[in-house]
Chain length 159, copies 2
């Protein structure tokens, strides 16, 4: 168990439960920046244990590695992050998180009003063309539940 002069990748892996290969991958993705010792081996700050943990937690919330890299950019490069640094990053993280949950809840509520009730009255369906898909490669609106507004539901019942 190394003390000063940084910790090894194996120890970091052991402490976080991550695979060594995953940590190297995170380095390649710019999520952590170890230095090298005389023999060329990676050395990490103890604070990177927390950093790795943050990555794992953010992933559970469904954030991509580039997004997480964005969050981590607000951490100081030169020194060990303080309480305040983490509080700041957490606030940022939390607001993205709230947004994500809100989107899911909104979608769920729309589902209730649409196929949730079994009515299948698509002209009023709120689920067609939701925000997410709206931003896609200029293909015009997508009528998600299968009907453009002017099409009547009856058409769907031919064999």
């Amino acid at each position: 168990m190394p003390q000063s002069a940084g910790i090894s990748i194996g120890y970091l892996a052991e402490r976080t439960g991550l695979a060594v290969s995953a940590i190297r991958y995170y380095e390649a993705q710019g999520l952590v920046e170890p230095w090298r010792n005389a023999g060329g081996q990676r050395r990490f700050h103890r604070a990177d244990i927390r950093r790795m943990s943050f990555i794992m937690i953010a992933q559970q919330f469904g954030f991509s590695l580039p997004e997480i890299r964005g969050f981590l950019r607000s951490l100081p490069g030169g020194r060990t992050p303080t309480k305040e640094d983490w509080a700041f990053i957490s606030e940022n993280f939390r607001s993205h998180l709230d947004q994500r949950i809100e989107t899911l809840v909104k979608l769920r509520d729309n589902l209730d009003g649409c196929i949730g009730c079994g009515c299948l009255s698509l002209p009023n369906c709120k689920l067609y063309n939701p925000e997410d898909r709206a931003a896609q490669k200029g293909q015009g609106p997508r009528y998600l539940m299968g009907d453009s507004p002017e099409t009547e539901i009856a058409a769907e019942n031919d064999p």
Copy 2:
């Protein structure tokens, strides 16, 4: 625009906004089962427009194709799904969905008590070893925020 005898893959693609290749892929994954016309081309039921839409919506909620296939299994094979069929499948879908949202909200609340407050008092952190990771390949508990319960935070402040 074909009328009886089923619709073509191109028309289905146009109506749903999906790529033709995606629909073929869904067929390969068992999410839809078109028949073939005399010339060997795929023919879909009009009801498959709705089926495709359901797939797209479920994907927005983060369900995988195998999971979605599971939902769709409860739809009748031989006939056009009715109002009741969709209501049934939606209920099933909705309960999975609620569960997913609940998990996210729980995680968020834990985040508030952990890094959210900036206190970094990890011995009390509820985010270490959350349910999701607990089920992983028998590696023992993972202390997500970087500290096993008996380790004091001070250790992390060496350069």
